[in-house]
């Protein structure tokens, strides 16, 4: 793990990169990283996040700035800008059931090729997917998802990079922290080693590549 500035961290992300961003309706999203992505105007991003948040908040900022070319999410209904950009074909959108989305990301992080889920069988979600029967019950084969970068927000990070999360700000963050080539983390508080008890660490330090340092 390396502690770096937010400018340096975002400079590593090329235009057009695939980027997972933690958070759920802007809760538990690494806002400082997104502000810097906007400032450095990283265009054409392939975004993977639970939702599109709302304008001005969380990943919503990326739609405000027109930086997203493709979105994989479970819900975008509360962001009119993302909806407009989708309907105007400015961004391609893959809408995926939330439980399927998180399992696909988990599979990507855990070295699984995919999972079999009952969700979506018999609906439009099943179109183009392999359907597999197990003991007479139908499941969709949903494949693993990974990204080049994961932008993660934690509550506590220790000097080694161990992370813990607070309340509902945990959401997709720990799963995404396993599923990208490069994991960049912001934390509410950076604390000495040992402040987070071993049983309370949610994301082990070796998963974290970069921690945004205090200024």
């Amino acid at each position: 793990m390396k502690a770096i500035s937010v400018e340096e961290a975002v400079a590593m992300i090329p235009a057009g990169a695939s980027v997972m961003v933690g958070g759920f309706m802007g809760v538990g999203t690494p806002e400082r990283l997104l502000d810097e992505v906007v400032r450095q105007h990283k265009t054409g991003l392939v975004l993977i996040s639970n939702d599109a948040a709302t304008p001005g908040k969380g990943v919503g900022k990326l739609f405000d700035a027109g930086l997203v070319s493709r979105l994989t999410a479970s819900h975008i209904g509360l962001n009119p800008k993302a909806q407009q950009q989708m309907l105007a074909n400015q961004i391609a959108v893959d809408l995926i059931p939330q439980g399927t989305l998180v399992e696909r990301i988990r599979a990507g992080g855990c070295g699984l090729g995919g999972v079999l889920t009952p969700t979506g069988v018999g609906t439009t979600v099943a179109e183009g997917k392999r359907q597999i029967e197990i003991d007479g019950k139908a499941f969709l084969l949903e494949t693993a998802v990974r990204a080049q970068f994961a932008l993660v927000h934690a509550f506590l990070a220790d000097y080694l990079g161990n992370l813990s999360y607070a309340l509902t700000a945990r959401n997709f963050n720990p799963v995404m922290a396993m599923a990208a080539d490069t994991v960049i983390v912001t934390a509410e508080h950076i604390v000495p080693v040992g402040v987070i008890a071993p049983d309370h660490v949610v994301t082990p330090a070796p998963l974290v590549d970069y921690l945004i340092a205090n200024e």
Binding site: F24, M25, G26, V27, G28, N50, D51, A53, T54, A73, S74, H75, I76, G77, L78, Q83, M86, L87, L95, P97, Q98, G99, T100, V102, E103, R106, T117, P118, T119, G120, V121, G122, T123, T124, V125, F155, Y165, A166, L167, T168, A169, R170, N171, F172, N173, P174, V175, V202
Partner: protein
């Protein structure tokens, strides 16, 4: 009593002590207000919490503690938090006793459509498909009709949320179940007759000999 309160009160009567329950956005959210004080249920918010409490008092909201719509909530003593993989493991794995969702259409076979109107409203299904596929019981809480049009239809014309047959629909005028895969009128709202329900319902309803009045 307005339509929403009738629905909320009637759905609340389906809950039992110890149940793990997920309430969708809109009318389903209201159910929490009508749970009898002697019934202790666990409410799950799919963004990662069991033990959701009411809106916090002025000045106590924490930006890291919200419902699935991003609105501040509180947590009751004994609450627990987890990541989205665990949250949907609970939902898809059959650990959720009851999910209460809104609906756009429910058809005579018990299929639910509630996540999109092609060409008009494409917000994404969020957790709805997992909830309907995975919960032990699926209860749809919605107005019986919208703009004068029955939402209990012969066959869903909107894309389905799941191929799974739902368990119960509670509307402002009726309770409908699906024994044997056919819509059956189980109860009517106070002051509403069976004939009145039939008149505003597109789907064919099985009508038992006696249709009790909702207790709310």
């Amino acid at each position: 009593m307005d339509a929403q309160e009738i629905i909320g009160r009637r759905v609340a009567r389906e809950l039992r002590t110890g149940h793990l329950v997920n309430l969708g956005i809109g009318i389903p959210t209201l159910v929490a207000n009508y749970v009898p004080s002697d019934i202790k249920v666990f409410f799950q918010s799919e963004n990662g919490l069991i033990g959701t409490g009411p809106i916090p008092e002025q000045g106590m909201a924490h930006p890291h503690l919200t419902d699935a719509g991003g609105r501040p909530i509180s947590a009751l003593p004994g609450a627990c938090t987890f990541d989205s993989a665990m949250s949907f493991g609970l939902i898809r794995g059959g650990h959720l006793d009851v999910t209460v969702l809104g609906g756009l259409q429910v058809d005579a076979e018990g299929h639910l459509a509630n996540w999109m109107i092609p060409g008009k409203m494409v917000p994404g299904m969020g957790g709805a498909m997992d909830l309907v596929s995975g919960a032990k019981r699926v209860i749809v809480a919605m107005q019986h009709a919208a703009k004068g049009k029955s939402k209990i239809v012969r066959k869903c014309t909107l894309p389905l949320t799941s191929s799974r047959i739902i368990d119960l629909v509670v509307t402002d005028i009726a309770v409908i179940g699906f024994p044997d895969g056919k819509a059956m009128l189980m109860e009517t709202a106070p002051g509403v007759t069976v004939a009145e329900v039939m008149a505003v319902t597109e789907a064919e309803l099985v009508i038992p000999d006696t249709v009790p009045e909702m207790t709310i």
